[in-house]
Symmetry: C2
Subunit: 318 residues, 2 copies
């Protein structure tokens, strides 16, 4: 069985770990969001790819959900002593090594997809991890600037430095229009039995991946099941509500499903708190969606997969 | 009083710390060797500049003589886990931060001299530290290659990886011919009352600095006193003998003075073990030269400075 999943960071990574456990025989390809990528201290940082890689590779800081376990911060402290920032992005020493290797390979001419594959040679995440594109796509957020009208800031500045405390007037995946899917992305989608959307951020994670020309159409041709990142009107984790508000979408399981749309989603897994949700043309099922531990997460992934397989069989019959 | 010193790494840095203590009112400009510089993991590493900066700035690992005090090695261990080398060059986490800042500034277009000044803003070494050149000069060592004739390797590979265990057939400062002194170098030498050669390596430290066109002539016009890096036929520290052998110079205080030459050196400070050394046209003085502690080192620096001032007065009278 071949499964493709589009994934952002923490929520996506945990879901994928559950999926791997739920379907150990499946060949899983993960298309990772790179819109959050940022250059810091001259080094290329890919937060979502790394979170997937570290989580599935057993190197993640479990409590925090991102960054390396048993991390230290000597490099960051020293950069601060040099007065070199930003200080608001928490890069640990172990994590720095990943960015050093990545930056060195990119400088040598390797595309990000090849670099990611090389990094995964170490982490052996048990899935094939491909960045959505080898081109540079950066998510920018337009915010009010006191007295100066509006300005666009890098997603990470809004998300990490400002903790999304300033309303996003709009969110744009800069460069997406001119980007191409990384090698293997469309091939993996075409070959997939089903496509899953983990409970990742529908705007800045899954939405950004779908903004790479060609990916949405390829996905739409498949049986697609998503797991709602919204439970009872609030994000399961993170600040997806702030992102949804920026694009005029209500923070509800129903509204997100409608946002993805009938042309894309075949099934939608919501929490029992949202059991009454109905979306025309999309098969909605409810169950507990809190990824409280590996077993619970694995059961959620299994339910999403089972729904997808059921819908696919029904389609195949038609 | 204005003093210029040409310095390599550990020996030079310790001498300079003694000189600063011995002449606290003096304006000291240090011209640092950059021939040992190397790019590792995509980062620009300047071992000699950093050793001077860390030593005079109070950040050095005193026992080792290079690298940062209380250093940790998380980044290096992680790079090793990725299979990315070289592993033989010991870059610590704190040290990495210096190279990250430097590389980022170089990539932004700042010359190495400006980068060094910015790094020294933090370390406040109490001297003005200028790299010999902003151009790339790399010391290469020609060695026998088993079955393959000869090959040139980077100085650090010979010095650090091979511990100079393979004879150097020749040593070349690649790029030196086409390099220019960094801004401020010639001006500092011209303005200096005296020029001192610390007991740095006469081939790959002081020799490399003198190989930058213009520096030797400017220095030769000044009263110059050197401190012998050789005591009783052996290097005080390091493997200067292996370098001297490569250029056909005996490992002795006399031979090194003759190598620098009458046109360059006015005075030469040797150890009491070499009290019988005489070099025509060069004033040789002897005293204990072991830089065993800060006080002893300061007394050596004071003696070199006193000899230089004495020779300068004598010249001024003529």
């Amino acid at each position: 069985m071949k499964i493709v999943a589009l994934a952002g960071g923490i929520g996506g990574a945990r879901f994928l770990r559950g999926l791997r456990a739920a379907a150990p025989e499946a060949e899983i390809t993960v298309i990772g969001n790179t819109g959050d990528d940022i250059s810091l201290f001259g080094l290329r940082v890919c937060p979502d790819l790394d979170t997937v890689m570290y989580t599935l590779g057993g190197g993640i800081d479990e409590e925090q959900g991102w960054g390396r376990a048993a991390e230290t911060f000597a490099v960051k402290d020293e950069l601060g002593a040099y007065g070199v920032g930003p200080s608001w992005f928490g890069l640990g020493d172990r994590d720095f090594a990943t960015h050093i290797v990545r930056t060195q390979m990119l400088a040598a001419g390797y595309p990000l997809s090849a670099v990611t594959e090389a990094l995964c040679d170490r982490w052996r995440p048990g899935v094939r991890l491909i960045p959505m594109t080898d081109d540079q796509v950066e998510t920018h957020v337009v915010v009010e600037d006191a007295g100066n009208g509006r300005r666009a800031i890098h997603f990470q500045e809004w998300w990490v430095r400002l903790r999304a405390s300033v309303p996003a007037l709009s969110i744009a995946a800069v460069g997406a229009e001119d980007s191409k899917p990384a090698p293997g992305v469309l091939e993996a989608v075409d070959a997939a039995d089903v496509v899953l959307f983990p409970p990742s951020n529908p705007v800045v994670s899954v939405g950004t991946i779908l903004a790479v020309p060609g990916i949405r159409d390829a996905v739409a041709a498949k049986t697609v099941v998503g797991v709602s990142p919204i439970i009872g009107g609030a994000p399961v984790r993170g600040m997806a509500d702030a992102c949804l508000a920026a694009i005029g979408v209500e923070t509800s399981a129903r509204a997100v499903a409608e946002h993805y749309g009938l042309g894309l989603l075949d099934g939608w897994l919501v929490d029992d708190a949202d059991a009454d949700v109905r979306v025309e043309g999309i098969e909605v099922r409810s169950r507990p969606l809190l990824m409280s531990d590996p077993d619970a997460t694995s059961a959620i992934a299994r339910a999403a997969l089972d729904l997808a397989l059921e819908l696919k069989r029904a389609e195949d019959v038609r």
